[in-house]
Amino acid sequence: MTPPTQTLKQRPGADGPRGSGPLNTQDQALHTRTLPRFAPLGLLAAATAVSVGISLALGWNRAAMVVVAAILYLVAINLVSRSVENGRRATDRTVTGLVTIAFLIALLPLTTLLYTVLSNGLGALSGEFFSASMRNIIGEGGGIYHAIWGTLIVTGLATLMSVPIGVFTAIYLVEYGKGALARWITFLVDVMTGIPSIVAGLFAYALFVLFLGPGVRSGFGGAVALSVLMVPVVVRATEEMLKLVPNELREASYALGVPRWRTIVKVVLRTASAGIATGVTLAVARVIGETAPLLVIAGSTDSVNFNPFDGRMATLPVFTFYAYSEPGVPAEFSVERAWGAALVLILIVLVLNLIARLISRAYSPKTGR
């Protein structure tokens, strides 16, 4: 491994304010000089001040100001550290800065997204928004009553289908499965998590078309499509949880003469129930926002439809999509409804995630007792 010093030392422009003497003497000393602990923060403040000054003078916007401040900081910490400490430390400090910046950049979409949805969507929320459908609505008014019911029905049916299949598959993999079949199921479940959601929708359509003829649309088809996406998530979550159940519990149960299936139901599943509940909640949160498969197979309608086996069924994500992409003539009301629906959708997803975390936090230390 080549020490980074060799290349870095020769770089021009490494002369700091005090000039960089022969670095070798510093490298070989037992106690190298180090920057004081406040140095990074101080340099950051200085870089920000300079950047604000330049921006005010040249009339740049805030985004440019932040970018310039970040670059100034990285250059400054590198030069200062190089002159006081050594090249290796300078690289280390620069990378620390870069990694922190990467994290802050990653937070940027989350915060701006929440802000955009809140500021645009809050105005749309009202009593009517939750209690009215879009039937006979042109322009102002109307709401998402039909879409909320559609989402509840489709997601509920998908959950009813996926949870038994997913949990039983996980039981097979953990408790019974050995050999090639179990290995292949594990592997293909992993591959299945990567199926594009629109392909799941097309699959449901292709399946139902065989029985019901072309142009078929139904809420149940949407539930089938969502199940294809949901089952692998449930299997993986349940599998992880079942593996955490200590073998001693199973053996204790067998020793008492309890049949295997009752051991699994009464001991293993009960021990893992909180973890499974967390996994299922996260799986629901994942599919409740799926748009593409429902666009293909469940379609869209303006009226309330409680029958998942007959006709089109509106859902929140599809409603959001059409309200924005095909707003009709006075566009602003429909766009506002789109933001309102997006806000409701994101709130549902966040609440589901929160519930999942709370369940897992409340019951998590199931092992090591």
Partner: protein, 312 residues
């Protein structure tokens, strides 16, 4: 006598056990059947689409003329997104696993996971309303100053609905899954390797280069490929953000952008009928095969690491 000893050693087969294990096996097999069914039903319904004439493959003349640019657009947008997301995700994962204070790291990881929970249609709205206008000044600058590079020849739309914006939105969407897997792998680096590096006098960055990256290289590669799989199949964000066309173009900030398979299906399917549906399902089959291969390869790499538990 022989009977009773036989009775003792033979495992008891209860009816309940047989029903229960049979159900469990059935559920597992059902998953395999479903996966095979996805391929089978798409093939049955999509087969007429492969030989369709120009009436059903507008604006192209035949299926290849339609599917070719779509595959190109799909791969291009996903690749661009990957190039943006992977360095950022590795940085974020490093921050969470090795730089942030221990107490904070779990909470920070949860914050990044929240990004994965946001529905794609909301990302689409955010991309078109918030992000695209913010990026237009950058596109204008690129067009005016480095427009001689074919990637940036423009002309930029005032709405910013182009390939570059799509790439940024997709990068944000695949960031959480890449970060989650990288973080998991970085945390699995043997502590002894890290401590050995530090004891030799390495700085934190040198320790990461000597101990963490070599250990996690295959994990980073497969995380990137899983991210690629997600980006290839992403639908609504692309549909909302892109101003689509059927063509080959490397101009990232122009007015005419190659559409993607998924986005094209979402746009055309609701109004399609007859042979057009078959054509769309056939393109869906192509997308399924591409993502299947990518995911298959990625998982094969991940599974070679026996201890890896999966982070999705």
């Amino acid at each position: 006598m022989a009977d009773s000893s036989n009775e003792l050693t033979r495992p008891v087969k209860r009816l309940g056990d047989r029903i229960f294990s049979g159900t469990a096996l059935g559920a597992g097999v059902l998953i395999l059947v479903t996966l095979a069914g996805v391929g089978l039903f798409l093939t049955i319904e999509g087969l007429p689409g492969f030989t369709a004439d120009s009436s059903a493959t507008q604006p192209a003349d035949n299926f290849v003329g339609l599917a070719g640019p779509l595959v190109f657009g799909t791969v291009l947008s996903a690749t661009l997104a990957l190039m943006l997301a992977v360095p950022l995700a590795v940085g974020v994962a490093l921050f969470i696993s090795h730089y942030a204070p221990r107490r904070l790291s779990q909470g920070l990881g949860y914050l990044v996971d929240l990004l994965a929970a946001v529905p794609s249609v909301v990302y689409g709205l955010w991309g078109i309303i918030f992000l695209a206008p913010k990026l237009v000044p950058i596109y204008r600058w690129l067009e005016n100053n480095v427009g001689w590079i074919p990637f940036f020849s423009g002309p930029t739309l005032a709405s910013g609905r182009n390939m570059a914006t799509v790439a940024v939105v997709l990068a944000v969407m695949i960031l959480p899954i890449i970060t989650a897997i990288c973080r998991e792998i970085f945390l699995q680096t043997p502590t002894l390797h890290e401590e050995a590096a530090l004891a030799l006098g390495a700085t934190r960055w040198e320790m990461i280069r000597m101990a963490v990256f070599p250990y996690g290289r295959s994990g980073i590669v497969s995380a990137a490929m899983l991210g690629l799989g997600r980006a290839l199949g992403e639908t609504l964000a692309v549909t909302l953000v892109l101003s689509p066309a059927i063509l080959y173009s490397f101009n990232f900030i122009g007015a005419q952008n190659p559409s993607t398979i998924a986005s094209n299906i979402a746009l055309q399917f609701p109004e399609a009928s007859g042979l057009e549906v078959s054509v769309l399902i056939a393109t869906g089959l192509v997308l399924f095969l591409i993502t299947f291969v990518v995911n298959f390869a990625a998982r094969a790499v991940v599974n070679r690491r026996s201890e890896f538990s999966g982070a999705n």
